[in-house]
Assembly symmetry: C2
Homo-oligomer: 464 residues x 2
């Protein structure tokens, strides 16, 4: 399945929305602005600032990963990723999209001998403790993912796991249960890898966490569970080539960025819903949520002026959220766009049997299938939203494969850096999370960090 | 664990936010408006319109449920809920909060003999088909939940399951694998229950889907997996009593509704994030998402005037989303409130071992615990947001139990009907989903439904 994905944005356009939505003339006018954004992205890429583009060419790394998987992979029936944010969301997306449902509940035969895969991206002891209780350490490989090696949550998990491994297997043998994914030179995990002889894969220096899914961050666990990582990169490469054009109408990433930017800044629609119409792409909507929020949510523009910018991404799932969120999307404020993630062909389907011929509210379903019903609901929801003047568009994958997913992930990453240009902000930094980290360090007694004391709560403003 | 939950809204108030946020005088002024809203809710409740309040007193139903569980429950090791929206989200919330993590992956002993519980709220064939492949039908009970019995997704699932059961066990024996939760008198499932002799539990007539978690919709599956449903209702009852006061400052549901309403309508903050700082309450944030969106997202107010109202609820998880969304919350537009869901005491904890004394970025963690780190991160995030003028509040549960969860669920339901009064809209209907349903029926060929033809897509606006 290597056909191109498509973007249908008819329902973003004013002629389809009874006058609401984007006027064609406005989109035409945006083409020259996009051309400049595209040129700037091209320049930054040549300057080495946008290294995620170059992840489509990493044959040496792929060979290293596959060699590791060949040698080490078969010793383990459980792979655990310890990481958070960009170190977790991409892997979860690949797992969700490309492995069968209920993977971790299948037996060895059902998983074709590949290991279970758990991505533990939180530090809740009621989850992490329960998890450690039930796994067989002897057959478990821990992939610790942190570029800097200073991420508090991941390091706390690592210390707990390392201690258990060392107690179980001794001071040396425990190391084969660990593999790091981290900076190629700097940072604590790299240092430990060197000093303790632990295998470590590199995250290229200028690839940030939220743009790292196609680096070893995502590729190593994907390869361990049998996902075709070459096909994933082939799909991503096809999208890079497709987005090589400065012509807005032919550049799907450019269109996505431009349409969302216009919706936010000109049409007061800063809420960008991504609604997957397959369970297999719900995690992709969550991955996009980090990409879009952390890249575009910025206090200052590139000139340093205060702008407090940034659309709010929201993940949703169809048909499920028709029974939760669509009432709001249909009737609430005109402050949203909805992007549907669709697949044209499902790999499996279930026929709905004929039954109860006398019961009209059941009988019509017979002879159809679940996929037909799901597709009908998606088309109906898109049409209903448009009929109420609600902007929506559809990213359609011909089917779900490593190649089409690679296209999708790359399209959204490129769209994000285009959007950074359109908003005039730096999409690669995240200065706003620094203060929270420092306050956490101070509360945890890390040397050199002092917190401004938290003001005492006023008891008037506590209902207890 | 029956202590009251508390609401700390210090960080919603202007004195704590450097002048942004809600002025105390404005909140004081809102007290009389709340008094009127409270009075109207009281009147509607007495009029029988708000029947979810009365779910705290249903001893007869509880006895029926427990009797069913005693007799039938032990025949099954897997319970499957077929339902969507309000028929699913409450049960998922109870399961997520009150069962150990990884429940469905535990063996019988780990589950203390209680069954696995799956809530299948979507019709994706790649999930539903995979699920049916791997369960043992002989030991599986299907709880079909739909008030009307016309929900297309649930009925399609039901037809598929019914067919498999009938083929496996014959035209009569299959019925013991089914239990319905539906209207006490009307609708197709009730009719089938009568005609085919299938057990059915009632959803009280004036209890809508999103207010049904404390009806048999949530109570039956909860009881089947051993959750203390009496304690759940005790907690809910305690909250009903606590919210019996028209004094805003003493009424946590009233405060929550009033603060959010002011933030939306007076301070241009229509995005209401609920961020759970425990994995065990992430589903509660999703449940709240339906409650808030579907109840308050309305085109018309009670006078019939077009208002296009409704805040957009967003679910988030701490600490995870600190590495995804908090950059936006810290630096983006001032268009959000964040409500933290916190638990004061975790039932289990994991110490972080001392290690690497020479590595400062790891050493400080030793001697602390995962719960300490998680609490420090929550407090740091709240403080950091407040320091940037970002409104936030915290709902703190003393611990996680059926009683405290019952309090929380009831508080948010009462807050929703208060908010309906403050917005001047009807929080109990959902007229906006009707069109999508009709378009789906038409596409599926249901008799009597014709769709306006979908306009043909303009190929100019497809990038493919």
């Amino acid at each position: 399945m290597t056909e191109p994905i498509l973007l249908d944005y008819n329902n973003m356009m004013a002629p389809r929305l009874g006058g609401r939505g984007i006027e064609p003339a406005r989109l035409d006018a945006a083409a020259s602005r996009f051309r400049a954004a595209h040129e700037e992205v091209r320049r930054r890429r040549e300057n080495g600032e946008l290294a995620f583009f170059e992840l489509v060419d990493q044959e040496a790394t792929i060979r290293e990963i596959l060699a590791y998987v060949d040698v080490v992979g078969q010793d383990f029936d459980t792979v655990v990723v310890l990481g958070i944010g960009g170190s977790a969301l991409g892997t979860t997306t690949l797992q969700n999209a490309l492995l069968p449902a209920f993977w971790n509940e299948l037996d060895d035969a059902g998983r074709k001998g590949f290991p279970r895969l758990y991505v533990l991206d939180n530090i809740d002891p009621t989850t992490f403790g329960a998890f450690l209780e039930r796994i067989d350490l002897r057959r478990t490989l821990f992939n610790v993912v942190s570029k800097s090696g200073t991420t508090a949550e991941t390091m706390a998990q690592f210390l707990i796991v390392r201690d258990r491994l060392a107690r179980a297997f001794g001071d040396d043998a425990f190391k084969r249960h660990l593999v790091f994914t981290t900076d190629p030179e700097a940072g604590i995990l790299r240092r430990l890898a060197r000093e303790e002889g632990i295998t470590a894969f590199p995250i290229p220096p200028r690839v940030g966490g939220r743009f790292s899914v196609l680096s070893p961050v995502g590729l190593l666990p994907a390869a361990l569970v049998g996902i075709d990582i070459r096909a994933l990169l082939d799909g991503a490469r096809a999208m890079v080539e497709r987005c090589d054009t400065p012509e807005l109408g032919a550049n799907p990433a450019g269109l996505f960025a431009t349409l969302q930017h216009i919706a936010d800044t000109a049409l007061a629609a800063p809420i960008h819903v991504m609604m997957a119409y397959t369970d297999r792409l719900y995690a992709a909507a969550d991955w996009f949520r980090q990409l879009w929020a952390e890249s575009l949510g910025k206090r200052r523009d590139r000139t340093g002026a205060e702008v407090f910018r940034g659309p709010t991404p929201v993940k949703a799932l169809g048909a499920t959220d028709q029974h939760s969120q669509v009432q709001l999307y249909m009737e609430g404020p005109f402050d949203k766009t909805v992007t549907f993630l669709a697949v044209r062909e499902f790999p499996t389907d279930l026929p709905i049997p004929h039954a109860y011929p006398g019961v009209e509210a059941l009988a019509y379903l017979g002879g159809h299938s679940l996929a037909e019903l799901l597709q009908a609901e998606r088309a109906a929801t898109a049409q209903a939203l448009a009929s109420q003047g609600r902007m929506n568009m559809t990213i359609e994958l011909p089917g779900l494969s490593a190649h089409t997913l690679g296209q999708l992930l790359m399209m959204l990453q490129i769209a994000t850096v285009y959007a950074g240009e359109l908003y005039g902000i730096d999409p690669l930094d995240q200065p706003g999370v620094e203060l929270g980290k420092q306050l956490t360090y101070a509360r945890m007694g890390r040397g050199g960090y002092t917190a401004p004391p938290a003001p005492r709560p006023d008891p008037r403003w506590i209902a207890g």
